[in-house]
Point group: C3
Chain length 142, copies 3
Protein backbone atom coordinates (compact mmCIF):
# COMPACT_ATOMS: atom_id res chain seq x y z
CA UNK A 1 0.00 0.00 0.00
CA UNK A 2 2.68 2.43 1.08
CA UNK A 3 5.29 1.01 -1.23
CA UNK A 4 8.06 3.56 -1.78
CA UNK A 5 7.77 5.32 -5.12
CA UNK A 6 11.18 4.15 -6.27
CA UNK A 7 10.33 0.47 -5.78
CA UNK A 8 7.03 0.93 -7.55
CA UNK A 9 8.63 2.69 -10.52
CA UNK A 10 11.16 -0.10 -11.02
CA UNK A 11 8.54 -2.80 -10.51
CA UNK A 12 6.52 -1.23 -13.30
CA UNK A 13 9.55 -1.13 -15.60
CA UNK A 14 10.05 -4.84 -15.01
CA UNK A 15 6.31 -5.47 -15.43
CA UNK A 16 6.32 -3.80 -18.85
CA UNK A 17 9.50 -5.60 -19.93
CA UNK A 18 7.82 -8.91 -19.11
CA UNK A 19 4.58 -7.91 -20.77
CA UNK A 20 6.07 -6.89 -24.11
CA UNK A 21 8.08 -10.08 -24.34
CA UNK A 22 4.79 -11.99 -24.31
CA UNK A 23 3.25 -9.61 -26.83
CA UNK A 24 6.17 -9.73 -29.25
CA UNK A 25 6.36 -13.52 -29.02
CA UNK A 26 2.62 -13.61 -29.90
CA UNK A 27 1.97 -15.35 -26.57
CA UNK A 28 -1.36 -13.58 -26.23
CA UNK A 29 -2.73 -15.69 -23.37
CA UNK A 30 0.22 -14.80 -21.18
CA UNK A 31 -0.01 -11.20 -22.27
CA UNK A 32 -3.72 -11.10 -21.39
CA UNK A 33 -2.86 -12.64 -18.03
CA UNK A 34 -1.00 -9.43 -17.14
CA UNK A 35 -4.39 -7.71 -17.20
CA UNK A 36 -7.08 -8.03 -14.56
CA UNK A 37 -9.93 -10.48 -15.25
CA UNK A 38 -12.05 -7.52 -16.35
CA UNK A 39 -9.16 -5.65 -17.97
CA UNK A 40 -9.87 -3.18 -20.76
CA UNK A 41 -7.43 -2.82 -23.65
CA UNK A 42 -8.09 -0.02 -26.14
CA UNK A 43 -5.36 -0.81 -28.63
CA UNK A 44 -6.78 0.93 -31.68
CA UNK A 45 -8.06 4.48 -31.34
CA UNK A 46 -11.70 4.81 -32.29
CA UNK A 47 -12.25 1.05 -32.32
CA UNK A 48 -14.10 -0.60 -29.42
CA UNK A 49 -11.76 -1.67 -26.61
CA UNK A 50 -11.24 -5.35 -25.84
CA UNK A 51 -12.79 -6.43 -22.54
CA UNK A 52 -11.58 -9.20 -20.26
CA UNK A 53 -8.71 -11.60 -20.75
CA UNK A 54 -10.50 -13.74 -23.33
CA UNK A 55 -11.55 -10.59 -25.16
CA UNK A 56 -7.98 -9.33 -25.24
CA UNK A 57 -6.69 -12.63 -26.61
CA UNK A 58 -9.42 -12.63 -29.26
CA UNK A 59 -8.77 -9.02 -30.27
CA UNK A 60 -5.02 -9.53 -30.55
CA UNK A 61 -5.36 -12.80 -32.45
CA UNK A 62 -7.85 -11.26 -34.87
CA UNK A 63 -5.66 -8.16 -35.35
CA UNK A 64 -2.53 -10.24 -35.87
CA UNK A 65 -4.27 -12.49 -38.39
CA UNK A 66 -5.91 -9.66 -40.31
CA UNK A 67 -2.98 -7.26 -40.34
CA UNK A 68 -0.03 -9.60 -40.56
CA UNK A 69 -1.27 -13.09 -41.48
CA UNK A 70 1.79 -15.15 -42.32
CA UNK A 71 4.03 -12.08 -42.52
CA UNK A 72 7.16 -13.12 -40.60
CA UNK A 73 7.97 -9.53 -39.55
CA UNK A 74 9.36 -9.44 -36.00
CA UNK A 75 7.74 -6.66 -34.04
CA UNK A 76 9.23 -5.28 -30.82
CA UNK A 77 7.29 -2.98 -28.55
CA UNK A 78 9.39 -0.31 -26.91
CA UNK A 79 7.97 1.71 -24.02
CA UNK A 80 9.75 4.78 -22.72
CA UNK A 81 9.43 8.08 -20.87
CA UNK A 82 7.46 6.36 -18.16
CA UNK A 83 5.54 8.57 -15.75
CA UNK A 84 4.09 6.83 -12.69
CA UNK A 85 1.23 8.49 -10.82
CA UNK A 86 -0.03 6.62 -7.73
CA UNK A 87 -3.69 7.42 -7.02
CA UNK A 88 -5.52 7.82 -3.72
CA UNK A 89 -7.55 4.67 -4.32
CA UNK A 90 -4.40 2.54 -4.52
CA UNK A 91 -4.43 2.24 -8.29
CA UNK A 92 -1.55 3.59 -10.34
CA UNK A 93 -1.95 5.65 -13.47
CA UNK A 94 1.00 5.51 -15.85
CA UNK A 95 1.65 7.38 -19.05
CA UNK A 96 4.41 6.61 -21.49
CA UNK A 97 5.50 6.64 -25.10
CA UNK A 98 5.55 3.47 -27.18
CA UNK A 99 6.87 2.54 -30.57
CA UNK A 100 6.93 -0.72 -32.47
CA UNK A 101 10.18 -1.61 -34.23
CA UNK A 102 9.29 -3.87 -37.15
CA UNK A 103 11.98 -5.99 -38.80
CA UNK A 104 11.61 -8.10 -41.91
CA UNK A 105 13.76 -11.23 -42.26
CA UNK A 106 16.98 -10.35 -44.04
CA UNK A 107 16.57 -6.59 -43.79
CA UNK A 108 18.70 -5.05 -41.02
CA UNK A 109 16.76 -1.76 -41.02
CA UNK A 110 13.90 -1.68 -38.52
CA UNK A 111 10.84 0.44 -39.21
CA UNK A 112 9.44 2.44 -36.25
CA UNK A 113 5.73 2.02 -36.78
CA UNK A 114 3.69 3.37 -35.18
CA UNK A 115 4.71 5.87 -32.51
CA UNK A 116 2.09 6.10 -29.75
CA UNK A 117 1.31 7.56 -26.38
CA UNK A 118 -0.27 5.22 -23.86
CA UNK A 119 -2.10 5.58 -20.58
CA UNK A 120 -2.59 2.66 -18.19
CA UNK A 121 -4.39 2.08 -14.94
CA UNK A 122 -2.53 -0.54 -12.92
CA UNK A 123 -3.79 -2.27 -9.80
CA UNK A 124 -2.35 -4.75 -7.35
CA UNK A 125 -4.27 -7.99 -6.77
CA UNK A 126 -2.93 -10.64 -4.38
CA UNK A 127 0.42 -8.91 -4.58
CA UNK A 128 0.62 -8.98 -8.37
CA UNK A 129 0.67 -5.83 -10.45
CA UNK A 130 -1.92 -6.05 -13.22
CA UNK A 131 -3.19 -3.73 -15.94
CA UNK A 132 -6.83 -2.80 -15.46
CA UNK A 133 -7.04 -0.45 -18.36
CA UNK A 134 -4.87 0.55 -21.31
CA UNK A 135 -5.59 3.25 -23.81
CA UNK A 136 -3.22 3.48 -26.80
CA UNK A 137 -3.20 6.56 -29.03
CA UNK A 138 -1.18 6.16 -32.21
CA UNK A 139 0.33 9.47 -33.27
CA UNK A 140 -0.64 9.17 -36.93
CA UNK A 141 -4.30 8.84 -35.98
CA UNK A 142 -4.35 12.01 -33.89
Amino acid sequence: MNQPFTDLYVEIQQFYATQVQYLDALRFEEFADTFTEDGVFGHVRGAPAAHGRAGIVAALSEYQERRYGDDPTQRRHWFNMLKVMPQDDGSIVTSYYAVVLATKPGDPVALPTPSCSVQDVLVRQDGRLLAQEREVSADHTL
Copy 2:
Protein backbone atom coordinates in the same frame (compact mmCIF):
# COMPACT_ATOMS: atom_id res chain seq x y z
CA MET B 1 21.56 15.75 0.15
CA ASN B 2 22.33 12.16 0.94
CA GLN B 3 19.51 10.78 -1.14
CA PRO B 4 20.25 7.17 -2.09
CA PHE B 5 21.44 6.83 -5.67
CA THR B 6 18.57 4.53 -6.60
CA ASP B 7 15.92 7.03 -5.53
CA LEU B 8 17.70 9.80 -7.37
CA TYR B 9 18.00 7.79 -10.57
CA VAL B 10 14.29 6.99 -10.61
CA GLU B 11 13.35 10.55 -9.67
CA ILE B 12 15.30 11.75 -12.69
CA GLN B 13 13.56 9.24 -14.97
CA GLN B 14 10.21 10.56 -13.79
CA PHE B 15 11.47 14.16 -14.12
CA TYR B 16 12.41 13.61 -17.77
CA ALA B 17 9.14 11.81 -18.53
CA THR B 18 7.26 14.83 -17.20
CA GLN B 19 9.49 17.28 -19.00
CA VAL B 20 9.18 15.74 -22.46
CA GLN B 21 5.40 15.57 -22.18
CA TYR B 22 5.41 19.38 -21.85
CA LEU B 23 7.84 19.74 -24.71
CA ASP B 24 5.96 17.45 -27.08
CA ALA B 25 2.65 19.12 -26.25
CA LEU B 26 4.31 22.46 -27.08
CA ARG B 27 3.62 23.64 -23.54
CA PHE B 28 6.83 25.64 -23.51
CA GLU B 29 6.09 27.64 -20.34
CA GLU B 30 5.69 24.46 -18.31
CA PHE B 31 8.74 22.99 -19.97
CA ALA B 32 10.79 26.09 -19.11
CA ASP B 33 9.51 25.85 -15.55
CA THR B 34 11.47 22.58 -15.20
CA PHE B 35 14.63 24.69 -15.54
CA THR B 36 16.05 26.99 -12.87
CA GLU B 37 15.27 30.71 -13.17
CA ASP B 38 18.69 31.19 -14.74
CA GLY B 39 18.64 27.88 -16.64
CA VAL B 40 20.72 27.50 -19.79
CA PHE B 41 19.43 25.44 -22.69
CA GLY B 42 21.79 24.83 -25.59
CA HIS B 43 19.40 23.05 -27.91
CA VAL B 44 21.19 23.64 -31.21
CA ARG B 45 24.91 23.01 -31.45
CA GLY B 46 26.87 26.08 -32.44
CA ALA B 47 23.92 28.40 -31.88
CA PRO B 48 23.82 30.59 -28.75
CA ALA B 49 22.14 28.86 -25.81
CA ALA B 50 18.83 30.14 -24.45
CA HIS B 51 19.14 31.78 -21.03
CA GLY B 52 16.48 31.90 -18.33
CA ARG B 53 12.92 30.62 -18.43
CA ALA B 54 11.63 33.43 -20.62
CA GLY B 55 14.58 32.95 -22.95
CA ILE B 56 13.88 29.23 -23.22
CA VAL B 57 10.22 29.84 -24.04
CA ALA B 58 11.20 32.41 -26.66
CA ALA B 59 13.84 30.15 -28.24
CA LEU B 60 11.50 27.17 -28.42
CA SER B 61 8.60 29.21 -29.78
CA GLU B 62 10.81 30.80 -32.41
CA TYR B 63 12.32 27.43 -33.38
CA GLN B 64 8.91 25.76 -33.54
CA GLU B 65 7.50 28.57 -35.69
CA ARG B 66 10.47 28.76 -38.05
CA ARG B 67 11.09 25.02 -38.44
CA TYR B 68 7.57 23.64 -38.27
CA GLY B 69 5.07 26.48 -38.63
CA ASP B 70 1.67 24.90 -39.13
CA ASP B 71 3.16 21.46 -39.80
CA PRO B 72 0.99 19.11 -37.73
CA THR B 73 3.80 16.57 -37.26
CA GLN B 74 3.68 15.05 -33.78
CA ARG B 75 7.14 14.94 -32.29
CA ARG B 76 8.04 12.72 -29.33
CA HIS B 77 11.29 13.11 -27.46
CA TRP B 78 12.75 9.85 -26.27
CA PHE B 79 15.60 9.87 -23.73
CA ASN B 80 17.53 6.71 -22.93
CA MET B 81 20.78 5.24 -21.64
CA LEU B 82 20.67 7.59 -18.70
CA LYS B 83 23.85 7.98 -16.68
CA VAL B 84 23.51 9.85 -13.39
CA MET B 85 26.63 11.37 -11.82
CA PRO B 86 26.07 13.15 -8.47
CA GLN B 87 28.65 15.88 -7.91
CA ASP B 88 30.37 17.03 -4.71
CA ASP B 89 28.60 20.38 -4.81
CA GLY B 90 25.19 18.70 -4.66
CA SER B 91 24.42 19.16 -8.33
CA ILE B 92 23.85 16.15 -10.57
CA VAL B 93 25.39 15.74 -13.99
CA THR B 94 23.47 13.42 -16.31
CA SER B 95 24.30 12.19 -19.77
CA TYR B 96 21.91 10.36 -22.03
CA TYR B 97 20.90 9.67 -25.60
CA ALA B 98 17.88 11.35 -27.15
CA VAL B 99 15.95 10.93 -30.34
CA VAL B 100 12.86 12.62 -31.69
CA LEU B 101 10.24 10.37 -33.28
CA ALA B 102 8.33 12.48 -35.81
CA THR B 103 4.95 11.30 -37.08
CA LYS B 104 2.89 12.90 -39.82
CA PRO B 105 -0.91 12.59 -39.66
CA GLY B 106 -2.01 9.49 -41.55
CA ASP B 107 1.46 8.00 -41.88
CA PRO B 108 2.10 5.18 -39.40
CA VAL B 109 5.88 5.25 -39.93
CA ALA B 110 7.72 7.50 -37.47
CA LEU B 111 10.96 9.17 -38.51
CA PRO B 112 13.80 9.17 -35.92
CA THR B 113 15.21 12.65 -36.39
CA PRO B 114 17.59 13.65 -35.03
CA SER B 115 19.60 11.32 -32.79
CA CYS B 116 21.49 13.28 -30.10
CA SER B 117 23.59 12.97 -27.02
CA VAL B 118 22.72 15.29 -24.17
CA GLN B 119 24.40 16.44 -20.99
CA ASP B 120 22.48 18.12 -18.17
CA VAL B 121 23.33 19.72 -14.87
CA LEU B 122 20.43 19.25 -12.46
CA VAL B 123 20.03 20.95 -9.09
CA ARG B 124 17.52 20.71 -6.28
CA GLN B 125 15.78 23.92 -5.20
CA ASP B 126 13.18 23.88 -2.41
CA GLY B 127 12.98 20.12 -2.86
CA ARG B 128 12.28 20.30 -6.59
CA LEU B 129 14.66 18.86 -9.14
CA LEU B 130 15.38 21.44 -11.86
CA ALA B 131 17.61 21.61 -14.91
CA GLN B 132 20.27 24.28 -14.61
CA GLU B 133 21.99 23.52 -17.85
CA ARG B 134 21.36 21.38 -20.91
CA GLU B 135 23.67 20.86 -23.83
CA VAL B 136 22.29 18.93 -26.80
CA SER B 137 24.61 17.57 -29.49
CA ALA B 138 22.81 16.27 -32.56
CA ASP B 139 24.76 13.42 -34.13
CA HIS B 140 24.48 14.69 -37.70
CA THR B 141 26.14 17.98 -36.72
CA LEU B 142 29.17 16.29 -35.15
Copy 3:
Protein backbone atom coordinates in the same frame (compact mmCIF):
# COMPACT_ATOMS: atom_id res chain seq x y z
CA MET C 1 24.34 -10.58 -2.00
CA ASN C 2 20.93 -9.63 -0.73
CA GLN C 3 20.84 -6.35 -2.56
CA PRO C 4 17.26 -5.16 -2.92
CA PHE C 5 15.88 -5.75 -6.39
CA THR C 6 15.19 -2.06 -6.96
CA ASP C 7 18.80 -1.07 -6.30
CA LEU C 8 20.04 -3.83 -8.57
CA TYR C 9 17.71 -2.86 -11.40
CA VAL C 10 18.87 0.76 -11.33
CA GLU C 11 22.51 -0.24 -10.98
CA ILE C 12 22.15 -2.30 -14.15
CA GLN C 13 20.55 0.62 -16.01
CA GLN C 14 23.52 2.79 -15.05
CA PHE C 15 25.92 -0.04 -15.95
CA TYR C 16 24.47 -0.31 -19.45
CA ALA C 17 24.45 3.47 -19.92
CA THR C 18 28.15 3.52 -19.10
CA GLN C 19 28.89 0.53 -21.27
CA VAL C 20 27.24 1.82 -24.44
CA GLN C 21 29.02 5.15 -24.15
CA TYR C 22 32.30 3.27 -24.44
CA LEU C 23 31.01 1.18 -27.31
CA ASP C 24 29.65 4.13 -29.29
CA ALA C 25 32.84 6.11 -28.75
CA LEU C 26 34.78 3.11 -30.11
CA ARG C 27 36.62 2.85 -26.80
CA PHE C 28 36.73 -0.92 -27.06
CA GLU C 29 39.26 -1.50 -24.27
CA GLU C 30 37.02 0.24 -21.76
CA PHE C 31 34.02 -1.57 -23.16
CA ALA C 32 35.77 -4.92 -22.81
CA ASP C 33 36.70 -3.98 -19.26
CA THR C 34 32.99 -4.10 -18.36
CA PHE C 35 33.18 -7.84 -19.03
CA THR C 36 34.80 -10.41 -16.77
CA GLU C 37 38.32 -11.53 -17.67
CA ASP C 38 36.82 -14.62 -19.28
CA GLY C 39 33.75 -12.81 -20.62
CA VAL C 40 31.95 -14.18 -23.66
CA PHE C 41 30.42 -11.83 -26.20
CA GLY C 42 28.31 -13.36 -28.95
CA HIS C 43 27.64 -10.22 -30.96
CA VAL C 44 26.80 -11.82 -34.31
CA ARG C 45 24.38 -14.72 -34.43
CA GLY C 46 25.89 -17.83 -35.90
CA ALA C 47 29.44 -16.46 -35.72
CA PRO C 48 31.78 -17.71 -32.99
CA ALA C 49 31.55 -15.62 -29.81
CA ALA C 50 34.50 -13.49 -28.70
CA HIS C 51 36.22 -14.81 -25.57
CA GLY C 52 38.02 -12.77 -22.93
CA ARG C 53 38.67 -9.05 -22.84
CA ALA C 54 41.40 -9.13 -25.47
CA GLY C 55 39.21 -11.28 -27.67
CA ILE C 56 36.34 -8.83 -27.35
CA VAL C 57 38.56 -5.88 -28.26
CA ALA C 58 39.91 -7.80 -31.27
CA ALA C 59 36.44 -8.86 -32.46
CA LEU C 60 35.02 -5.35 -32.17
CA SER C 61 38.02 -3.73 -33.83
CA GLU C 62 37.91 -6.22 -36.68
CA TYR C 63 34.13 -5.81 -37.09
CA GLN C 64 34.40 -2.01 -37.01
CA GLU C 65 37.18 -2.00 -39.57
CA ARG C 66 35.54 -4.48 -41.91
CA ARG C 67 31.98 -3.16 -41.70
CA TYR C 68 32.57 0.55 -41.31
CA GLY C 69 36.20 1.36 -42.17
CA ASP C 70 36.49 5.13 -42.39
CA ASP C 71 32.70 5.59 -42.50
CA PRO C 72 32.07 8.47 -40.08
CA THR C 73 28.56 7.23 -39.21
CA GLN C 74 27.80 7.81 -35.52
CA ARG C 75 26.20 4.74 -34.03
CA ARG C 76 24.27 4.82 -30.75
CA HIS C 77 23.24 1.66 -28.95
CA TRP C 78 19.87 1.90 -27.25
CA PHE C 79 18.84 -0.78 -24.75
CA ASN C 80 15.29 -0.97 -23.45
CA MET C 81 12.59 -3.17 -21.90
CA LEU C 82 15.08 -4.46 -19.38
CA LYS C 83 14.12 -7.55 -17.45
CA VAL C 84 16.35 -8.44 -14.50
CA MET C 85 16.32 -12.00 -13.18
CA PRO C 86 18.60 -12.65 -10.16
CA GLN C 87 19.72 -16.29 -10.04
CA ASP C 88 20.29 -18.58 -7.06
CA ASP C 89 24.04 -18.68 -7.72
CA GLY C 90 24.31 -14.91 -7.30
CA SER C 91 24.58 -14.17 -10.99
CA ILE C 92 21.97 -12.04 -12.72
CA VAL C 93 20.37 -12.90 -16.03
CA THR C 94 19.02 -9.93 -17.95
CA SER C 95 17.07 -9.77 -21.16
CA TYR C 96 16.36 -6.62 -23.11
CA TYR C 97 15.79 -5.14 -26.52
CA ALA C 98 18.51 -3.21 -28.33
CA VAL C 99 18.65 -1.10 -31.43
CA VAL C 100 21.44 0.86 -33.05
CA LEU C 101 20.61 4.37 -34.26
CA ALA C 102 22.99 5.19 -37.10
CA THR C 103 23.49 8.82 -38.17
CA LYS C 104 25.51 10.03 -41.14
CA PRO C 105 27.15 13.46 -40.95
CA GLY C 106 24.79 16.09 -42.31
CA ASP C 107 21.74 13.83 -42.40
CA PRO C 108 19.34 14.45 -39.49
CA VAL C 109 17.45 11.19 -40.03
CA ALA C 110 18.80 8.30 -37.95
CA LEU C 111 18.48 4.75 -39.22
CA PRO C 112 17.44 2.07 -36.66
CA THR C 113 19.64 -0.82 -37.69
CA PRO C 114 19.49 -3.48 -36.49
CA SER C 115 16.83 -4.27 -33.89
CA CYS C 116 17.93 -7.06 -31.55
CA SER C 117 17.07 -8.99 -28.46
CA VAL C 118 19.89 -9.58 -26.00
CA GLN C 119 20.49 -11.85 -23.05
CA ASP C 120 23.27 -11.22 -20.55
CA VAL C 121 24.68 -13.00 -17.55
CA LEU C 122 26.05 -10.45 -15.10
CA VAL C 123 28.17 -11.18 -12.05
CA ARG C 124 29.62 -9.12 -9.23
CA GLN C 125 33.39 -9.26 -8.69
CA ASP C 126 35.04 -7.20 -5.96
CA GLY C 127 31.86 -5.15 -5.79
CA ARG C 128 31.83 -4.34 -9.51
CA LEU C 129 29.06 -5.49 -11.78
CA LEU C 130 30.52 -7.18 -14.88
CA ALA C 131 29.14 -8.97 -17.90
CA GLN C 132 30.13 -12.60 -18.01
CA GLU C 133 28.18 -13.48 -21.09
CA ARG C 134 26.23 -11.64 -23.77
CA GLU C 135 24.22 -13.18 -26.56
CA VAL C 136 22.86 -10.80 -29.19
CA SER C 137 20.14 -11.94 -31.63
CA ALA C 138 19.50 -9.50 -34.45
CA ASP C 139 15.87 -9.67 -35.54
CA HIS C 140 16.61 -9.76 -39.26
CA THR C 141 18.71 -12.90 -38.82
CA LEU C 142 15.97 -14.81 -37.00
